[in-house]
Symmetry: C2
Subunit: 552 residues, 2 copies
């Protein structure tokens, strides 16, 4: 019997950066290579990646990467991983997913990485891995589950999914194949937990189109619709609603235009001839003849919609009578940015329609009953909930128990904790390194904790830099100390304060000279301590104090 | 006819820091003195106050301050305002409100400020102001509306309110008096807009108690309940539910203990003898005999609950089997902090019950139908929605239109924009200074935009400090340049990089010397430009670059 290990490197105990290492007899298959967006405390960080140290030590064992769908939290880390590993690991996935992968790799000038379409139903053999994908429905076309056939049964990783019976793409999830696999015997189910906290079934994507048309029909002025750029079916429904009401459509925002282009090339979206308006032509059309489809549904700082809300978009200037339609809900953590954008729009005089006003969004993740349906369809031996914070993983486990899975066969994991399965059963293995890598500017993984701690300190109280110039011969001060501060509010008595700081420095140096302290490091330490105390006593703040001693 | 001015200095176009200046014939009454909590972008800021520059120039005209209720967003700015104005302006309000005001003023050692109880129905004459308060229901006892009687009619400022027909305190809002005032003639209604976006009526506070008891009865281990410390009726309901189930209650968190003390003294909360357990005694009681009432419902960083969630509370260590009950909803902007706390608790093994699981919270602000009820009760001549962002102010205006108010009589204002009313009618006056003042540490209003901009820059990319020591005689370099960085990730080739930076400095100085640049300011500018370019070319980052030139 082969030894199987399933090691999540991301996506457990968090929402985002999904990445799983599956091992059979020491060979590795990576399923999904996602990223996360930083929180406010991660100062200056652009992206958060899974820590893939484990893979770095095992490069030669990696057979390939399978990606379940094209969202950032499943695909976004791909170029970074490939660049860091430097091994051109072959990538497999659905057509749209691979088109998006190719586009990302090209942007990072990683043209050598082999990218291969893998259609549902096709078989892929990679070393010991016998792989197939199963068509699923989600908020992006070409979403799949991944089944890995092993001697002991199938490992099924669902990716993100919902059971949409009337998807806009026309093809529901392949429940038939899932049921077949269930009959064959599923060893382990790693399922999406994102909406484990929502009871019932999710709404179908196809209810959104008619609702959008209803909302549009009540608008007299211009309509701006914002949604995720990758939700190509949503774009289709906006185009259809616009067409029905005799409006043209303008696509605004780089990712919106890019994704629609890829979607059109692959036939996922059909736009009637002459329907699209270039952003620069927007002002040529009367307001009631236009729908603008824009990025920015999450209140992203540099997005087209945010710029419109701040009257700072080169082509679109919103005004009284325009309606902005949010065909998306805020991802947890983005609520404030979204609310701020909405309020700006109200201030301009726009009307704003959100999902609270009309059902103009459908989640791409199945609710509790769909998770149960999946469990009942595939009847897994073991269950390991994926894609969720600790709360959702717990709730998913409760759902599994409710359909009759033995609690001992449910494994509530965390990043870095491998589930090991052999003939004796399943159990946790020893923890492997897992965590976050930061992308800061162009660099990957080099923002140390020290740098972040410093940034936090700098951000909260600013910095004082004090330069003392001392004689190399006797340590006496040879020039007036220089004092510079940044991020510290300019005090009313700044001149007085700076004078007092200089006096403190001089006093500190004199004392050090008396105590025969001549080492620059020790001088700097003494200066730091005296100054930090002085500044705190005087300002009741704790800015960073950076003493520099120059010997001449 | 007297000339009336109503000038909001906070609370319009935002949620929080409510403060209004009412003027009659040049004399001033201030209604509410609230604050806001900072957002993540306000780095290092502790509190946000209304800009009260306008009042500073008019100190001698101020007759007094009336506070509608004891919440921070209506009362919190009081000590700062008093200290900054330094005029000991008399304060008036309900008993509990004034007890809280006194406690705040004492903490700031402002014992001289006169604080006066003003009971609903009592008359208060302050210069031209003929004032009464009207009992309202809200999520804190002793909430009131303020009516100012003028020759032209009554100005009614509602404060925060709901029409709770079965309040826990027993006394519903005084609709009779509101109706009487309506018959007398309301000139201007300034009403709470907080829940203008929620249709229907708000739930009564008294539905919460039985729900809490139902939730508690299902818990086998310890129960931790978190809510706003000032929601004294909620605390009462927790105590009652605990009593019914034979559990004792421990109060944890400074503000929880303080508010309950004030509430008990004033008779707003009754705790049976022997019911309360001291925090240090918690471990003496079996889990199923205890309810812990804690601060931290908003995920506040240093709160008792947040510390428990991080296993860092001196008296309470949570474990598997404990249940944490969130009897509050996150204030917009706090969602992430709350979710993080919840997930930490799940990770520990606690069960977490929120308002999504059971109706264990009731909002303190009336919903749309209550706002309409208020409008119909008092039949105002003019309407100026208060307490809301631009969206809610707009929605409140639509509600006013829906009950028949002429759109021309509805004034959608913003902070600093005074509404002026005389015999000819109502119109906007010229804008006055309004905005935010920051409290940073102990200082008020001294965090300039420059300091915040610097902090933002420091927080995102860190800082490079470069010290060049040059000869006063000829500008030549007399010591090796010193380079220090903070908040910049330590590069792999740091030594090499520092060497190259020193070379850049030396080159820059040499070029400056050749160009006869000797002014220190100009030298620093040249150094800054060369270094910023070098650092960006090399690191693709834009840290703050701070060159210091020392002449010896």
């Amino acid at each position: 019997m082969s030894k199987i290990r399933v090691l999540p490197l991301g996506g457990l105990g968090e929402i985002g950066k999904n990445m799983t290492v599956v091992e059979i007899d020491g060979r590795i298959l990576v399923v999904d290579v996602g990223l996360r967006f930083p929180t406010a405390e991660m100062m200056g960080i652009d992206l958060v990646l899974p820590d893939f140290t484990y893979l770095r030590s095992r490069i030669d064992d990696i057979e390939g990467i399978v990606v379940t769908h094209g969202h950032e939290d499943h695909l976004g880390c791909l170029p970074f991983l490939q660049r860091e590993l430097g091994a051109n690991i072959p990538v497999y996935g659905g057509k749209l997913t691979m088109a998006m992968a190719r586009s990302k790799l090209d942007e990072h000038r990683l043209k050598e990485v082999p990218v291969n379409d893998l259609n549902p139903g096709e078989e892929l053999k990679l070393g010991p891995f016998d792989i197939e994908t199963i068509h699923m429905t989600h908020s992006i076309p070409d979403a799949t589950a991944v089944a890995i056939h092993t001697e002991q049964g199938v490992i099924l990783i669902t990716g993100d999914y919902k059971f949409d019976q009337t998807p806009v793409g026309g093809v529901p999830a392949d429940v038939g194949r899932l049921a077949e696999l269930g009959r064959e015997g599923i060893l382990l189910l790693c399922g999406d937990s994102t909406n484990a906290d929502r009871p019932g079934f999710s709404a179908s994507e196809s209810i959104v189109g008619p609702e959008l048309e209803r909302v549009f029909s009540r608008c007299e002025g211009r309509i701006v619709v914002t949604s995720f750029a990758s939700n190509i079916h949503r774009v289709q429904q906006v185009v259809d609603a616009a067409e029905a009401l005799g409006r043209r459509v303008a696509l605004v925002g780089r990712s919106m235009r890019k994704n629609v282009n890829i979607g059109r090339t692959l036939g996922h979206i059909t736009v009637p001839e002459g329907m699209l308006v270039q952003p620069r032509e927007i002002s040529d059309f009367p307001d009631h003849k236009l729908v603008i489809m824009s990025t920015g549904s999450q209140g992203e700082p540099m997005s087209a919609l945010r710029r419109m809300a701040h009257n700072d978009h080169p082509q679109v200037s919103l005004h009284d009578g325009d309606t902005v339609v949010f065909s998306a809900t805020p991802i947890p953590g983005n609520e404030r940015a979204v609310n701020e954008t909405v309020d700006r729009l109200f201030h301009i005089g726009c009307d704003v329609i959100t999902t609270r006003d009309a059902p103009i969004h459908a989640s791409g993740h199945g609710f509790a009953e769909e998770i149960k349906l999946m469990l009942n369809l595939v009847k897994p031996r073991y269950v390991m909930p994926f894609h969720g914070d600790f709360k959702r993983i717990r709730l998913h486990s409760q759902l599994a128990e409710s359909v009759g899975i033995d609690p001992d066969d449910i494994f509530r994991g965390e990043n870095g904790l491998p589930l090991e399965i052999d003939q004796r059963g399943a159990r946790w293995g020893d923890k492997e390194q897992a965590g976050m890598i930061f992308v800061d500017g162009v660099e990957v993984g080099d923002v140390t904790d020290v740098a972040l701690r410093d940034r936090r300190m700098l951000s909260s109280d600013g910095i004082f830099v004090v330069v003392a110039t001392v004689s190399e011969q006797d340590g006496s001060s040879v020039a007036d100390p220089e004092v510079i501060f940044r991020g510290v509010p300019y005090p009313d008595d700044a001149e007085q304060l700076l004078g007092d700081i200089r006096a403190t420095v001089t006093g500190s140096l004199a004392r050090a000279a008396k105590e025969q302290i001549r080492e620059v490091d020790m001088l700097q330490q003494a200066l730091h301590d005296d100054l930090a105390k002085f500044v705190y006593d005087r300002l009741r703040r704790r800015p960073m104090v950076l003493p520099v001693v120059v010997e001449v």
